[in-house]
Symmetry: C2
Subunit: 337 residues, 2 copies
């Protein structure tokens, strides 16, 4: 039974465990600083398919298969997932004909955190014994859907981010795994009035701020209680905005505040401007970097705060500002005090 | 604590209750057979806004407000919702700045059933005391996104359905309400190979068949245990396909099998071809017709099986077939035997 703490946090009494996880990425991601952590790197941006959207589906399917294999072939009772394509088709097509019940989510780039939170809550509350959360994104599919066809060769602004070609999955169960999900703080839709669709970091930072503050207030914790706190994909610009906001609030994020969008690429040499973004960013950094490092004992207690910008090209064209959302889950080694 | 029954059904031991519900629709829906049940009918298809997408957002927001008002102003702890627009923007914008945590879903036209199932599971498993599920769709916004701009005046095929301009919401709590959610059966993504984007009923019927069979097998029930079984929006074509499939399986759906897409309009006079569809179809029929009739005692036990087609214009253009999904929740009067 999950227990409510404060206004927005649920403490998971049974602490569902992460049994396995997997990350599959593209060549650019596989050449970055986290290259050793990915399960598979595809040098073929089409992943053997004839369109980028089908490539995204194939990548997600491969990631699902790997995650199941790493759990000894366990078939989860339930899959939760989503993606950035219109009508979330790549995740729906990736689970098609697998015979596993599927709950589709839309949390934009916060989908991995949303899926983990929901999976953990469903496991904690009984009934469901195992659930898999997954998501991903593909740079080429996202560019042509959100911005311009790649062939157009459009210039990118300094604050823009690079949509990660990557997928991440995690299989949770009631019993298994040395890493446990202990808390979930759900996010509110926060609109700070940002209208620049090329500055997602600025649009999402206020939502991350809102959720981190709620998590800390609800649990009585602060940054010092975590070995590391990760936002999903604020990138370098959003990371710094959030750090400023936190410091003005009297919090000391310090070196343990990290952002998956900053970690994914070498910002100096990989020409990604403000860093990585997309559903696949936090999902693949979680599976390739955060969880493995926790298993090695680098960190014992981590807060994973996925961030999403809830806009579409149409809302931007109609002059709407860009709201953000942030869902956070606390993950802990079984031996953390 | 939810308890697993069979392979795909969860029995909700605490039977979360439906405290309030609301439906807001457009003029065409308000002129149909269910006209007496809607809380509000807007003769202005723009709902006071300057675009159809903003109209959809306004309609959803109004439905949320009404649902809260009808629950005596109760603010739910959590909102679950989604819609059909790219990146699910109308639901995200409708909850923006409301200060309530939001979990975005994408279940296409099955979103209301998915949201009800998840809300009920989160309530049953502890932690969450109240949750609101909502969704909606707008004919004009859907037409220009999925098919053609209205100004083009394209002909519609006989099997096509009319996207409902409507929104539905239901507020659930652990304690309140005479109508209780007793079971949730989650859907698998089923692809029967249908490629005609103007025949959604045929594309979704196999998913409904799959979920109904699973629900009956898991619970030991059949049609005779329900006063009425509703599919979401198969329309007249999909309704008949599903009825045939069920009869071949030896089941007797009979008169208690109904479809929200068939109920929404007068198929003979309202020129909607095969009937209603869209997220707003099953959501507003639930709130305007099914739940009120249950409260009046017309039906004591109902199965509400939301159906969704998990496609996009792009997947159809790329030659992919159209998979479907169906999530079912059993709703019961407290005094049902």
């Amino acid at each position: 039974m999950a227990k409510r703490m404060g206004r927005r946090t649920l403490a998971l009494e049974n602490r569902p465990g992460i049994v396995s996880y997997a990350a599959v990425v593209g060549g650019k991601e596989g050449a970055g600083p986290l290259k050793k952590g990915f399960d598979e790197v595809s040098q073929d941006s089409y992943f053997g398919q004839d369109s980028w959207e089908k490539a995204e589906t194939a990548m997600l399917g491969r990631c699902l298969d790997l995650c199941k294999e790493k759990a000894g072939g366990t078939t989860p009772e339930l899959i939760l997932g989503g993606d950035l394509l219109n009508q979330c088709v790549s995740s729906a097509f990736a689970v098609k004909d697998r015979g596993i019940p599927y709950l589709g989510l839309y949390g934009a780039c916060s989908t991995m955190a949303e899926g983990l939170a929901l999976a953990a809550l469903l496991l904690d509350g009984g009934g469901v014994d195992s659930a898999l959360a997954f998501t991903g994104s593909h740079f080429c599919a996202a560019e042509r859907q959100y911005r311009f066809p790649l062939e157009y060769g459009g210039q990118r602004t300094p604050t823009s981010q690079w949509t990660v070609t990557g997928a991440g999955a995690a299989l949770l169960s009631k019993e298994g795994g040395g890493l446990r999900i202990t808390h979930a703080t759900t996010g509110r839709v926060v609109d700070a009035g940002v209208t620049d669709a090329n500055n997602m970091g600025a649009a999402m930072a206020p939502a991350a701020f809102d959720t981190l503050l709620a998590h800390f207030a609800d649990t009585g914790r602060d940054f010092s209680d975590y070995d590391a706190v990760f936002t999903g994909d604020l990138g370098a610009v959003g990371h710094d905005i959030l750090q400023d906001m936190l410091q003005k609030e009297g919090l000391s994020p310090g070196a343990q505040y990290l952002d998956c969008g900053v970690l994914m690429y070498d910002l100096l040499t990989q020409d990604v401007h403000a860093g990585g973004s997309g559903c696949g960013c936090s999902a693949s950094v979680l599976a390739a970097h955060i969880l493995p490092a926790m298993e090695r004992g680098v960190w014992k207690r981590v807060l994973f705060a996925g961030t999403g910008a809830l806009m579409s090209p149409l809302t931007c064209q109609q002059g709407c500002s860009i709201p953000g959302v942030c869902h956070a889950v606390a993950i802990e080694r079984r031996d953390a005090v």
